[in-house]
Amino acid sequence: MENATNQTATIKGGEFLIKETNPQDVFIPAEFNEEQRMMAQTCKDFVQDEVMPLLDRLDNHEEGLMESLMKKAGELGLFAVSIPEEYGGLNMDFNTALLVTESVGGGHSFPVAFAAHTGIGTLPILYFGNEAQKQKYLPKLVSGEWMSSYCLTEPGSGSDALAAKTKAVLNDAGTHYILNGQKMWITNAGFADVFIVFAQVDGDKFTGFIVEKGYPGLSLGNEEHKMGIKGSSTRQVFFSDCQVPKENVLGEIGKGHLIAFNILNIGRIKLGAATLGAAKHVADLSIKYANERIQFKLPISKFGAIRHKLAEQAIRIFGIESALYRAGMDVNRMEQALLASGKGENEALLGAAREFAVECAILKVEGSEALDYVVDEGVQIYGGYGFSADYPMDRAYRDSRINRIFEGTNEINRMLIVEMVLKKGMNGELDLMGPAQAVQQELMAIPDFGAEEEGLFAAENKAIRNLKKAILLVAGTAVQKYMNSLAKEQEVLMNIADMAIKTYVAESTLLRVEKLVSIKGEAAVANEIDIARVTVNDAADIAFIAGKEAIASMAEGDEQRLLFMGLKRFTKKDLYNTKEARRRIAAKLIDANEYAY
């Protein structure tokens, strides 16, 4: 693996909730090397030169246009990044793959086609295909000669993917599986040569298949009319006695769920990367417009209300970016550790992504919601022009919205975050019980009025430690109250997930800035210090509201009072002047006339 660190894994998936991380152990974007930066620049140049001039034509579904762009991207090697060399790839590490995804992320519909092809369209064959399948398909998918798509969702099964009705039956001759059924919202369907299809063998054995465009019995619906990402091809795919050679079964019969769910972990964190790229692009537009638009004889970037928005866009972007590459490197390291322990290459990355499935889901949720914030305020900064379809915010606003829906809705992902952490606690992978009991004891004890710690971020570090206690307090109570029926208390799960998401993002931001301070010194990163302080401050506020809602619904009387007192104690912080901090953060953006962190 290129560029992978030789550091050993320092943290397990979900463990951030109960463990402190040393800033020197996180990867920060400032550490990307020259080669990685050049790769990112190639992707940005491609989007700028080739994709952006075509956005209107792409959205009108001009025949063959997206396909030709994808072919060009293939020629530039954009599909090759994370594929092993023996299949025509470049074998770069996971964080490089994330960086490439981020760097095409500003291209509206293009990154959707890109991600569907390189992620869910290619990786199932890489990780679950047999050698013959890999030899046959991967080199063509990597070069862009063939395009791929992923057929999981059906009209009646979206979030509940395993309830798919498409059937596969082995023919009498034993040579082909006969597929019948219908798949819905299939990205790239219009020009795909290969379809990764999930179907039930013998009625209940959920199984993956590699289906080629030319197989008899496969047909496509019309292009869907969508709110956004109009340039991506989205169609239904129909299977009517579709004959799929037996050797095109992907993985084992009845083990399709392993493919579907494992690939989704990677898809989710990559979606976080794509939203990061899109958000940076929209922030650039917002800043430039705010500097150009004159009202009351001043550029609107001079006004506090607009500065607040510009700063908050940057804060949210900085947050996803910090969490993304931290988690990406944790996956990298875990992959190396699994390889070192004798696991095969495929199992190593899949296993690493599975280990950090909580973090992958966090990135999916926070990335899509941060982008939605950024585009929403982008429209607002543009004012009336933001509402005009002749200006770029219209497309950015519509294109953003799908991110909260696909790759598992944000609601499904929130529930997964909590369920996966609790499961790890149950089966002993994470010691949640010890820290949760310690929190209960702390709650009964006299508050600690001891001397304050010293240091640049003493208050913020304490706030993060306390936020984790607040999560254990609320989650622990939920587990005790609801036991096995916790899954039905979705509102409480949402509350706990919100607390965990904001804590992870705030901690990642703080760790990144602490590391930056150690490299560049305080004075050089004064604005980043502001960003970290605001992020931690706001995370505590959001956690307080989420925790309060959960406690009010779970407990009554003395117990409620005790829990609420604990929550207040664990989300307490000194007042911090976020207004001035945001003004300073915005000033740098306004001066640079682009996103500058």
């Binding site: 290129e2 020259e34 080669e35 050049m38 790769m39 020629e75 530039l76 090697g77 090759a80 640079a592």
Partner: protein, 246 residues
């Protein structure tokens, strides 16, 4: 066919230009550097010629170590090897002497560069190199083809038309749009760039002929007054009394 392509490391076209407090040097703080865009036309044309006829493309930069990312980029785009003359490019004459020294050592068939660098816009180095080496210099050219192994045909823009020039190798030429379609380095090119040789050589003793006394920015433009089309009279009054141009 041995082609030498000279590239400059210049501030990105969108960079904010500032000077140090004494106004004697350019403030590099926060400035992104790129390969001089005119040099990119030269580079891609050189690579195209190599792809069609065989041979090698060497890139040459006169600059300090911080120019290496852009030299690597040229290698990623498709040059075979690179030379960096380890010196700050003080002025055109200094740079031309460095290029001439390298060229004398290696005898190239064609020496290409952009018509000018977009930072100082000197438009001098190509002709100086031609003079120092005693070979023809065709500049600026927007088309370059090889007729055979010894002769090239170039087209250059002249007042009101174009001039078609035939020249024997070796020669120097400078490039402008649309000599070629500049390329984005592909991923594999980026991966192989680090394995390609980049030789660092010390400069030959050469005096700069000029030095910078001071930099200054153009005066800020004043605000624009908008006059309603109905009020042509007001416009005349302002032009006469305020702008004093009538």
């Amino acid at each position: 066919m041995k082609i030498l392509v000279c590239i400059s490391n210049v501030p990105d076209t969108t960079a904010k230009i500032n000077f140090t407090a004494d106004n004697k040097s350019f403030d590099k703080n926060g400035v992104q550097y790129v390969i001089n865009p005119w040099d990119e036309y030269a580079l891609t044309r050189a690579i195209e010629l190599k792809e069609a006829k065989g041979g090698t493309v060497t890139v040459l930069n006169v600059g300090e170590a911080d120019t290496e990312p852009n030299i690597r980029k040229a290698l990623a785009i498709g040059a075979d090897d690179a030379i960096r003359v380890n010196a700050y490019p003080k002025d055109s004459f200094f740079v031309a002497q460095q290029i001439a020294a390298i060229a004398k050592e290696n005898s190239y068939d064609i020496i290409l560069m952009g018509k000018e660098s977009i930072d100082y816009n000197g438009f001098q180095v190509h002709n100086m190199v031609g003079e120092l080496l005693g070979i023809p210099s065709v500049t600026p050219a927007f088309k370059l083809d090889l007729l055979d192994d010894t002769t090239a045909r170039l087209e250059r823009e002249i007042e009101g038309g174009k001039e078609i020039v035939e020249v024997k190798l070796p020669f120097v030429a400078s490039a402008q749009q649309p000599m070629s379609e500049p390329r984005i380095p592909n991923m594999r090119g980026i991966m192989t760039a680090r394995t390609k040789p980049l030789k660092v050589v010390e400069p030959v003793g050469a005096e700069a002929k000029t030095s910078i006394a001071a930099y200054s920015k153009p005066e800020k433009k004043g605000g624009v007054k908008m006059i309603d089309p109905e009020n042509a009279g007001e416009l005349i009054t302002l032009l006469r009394n305020e702008a004093k141009v009538l």
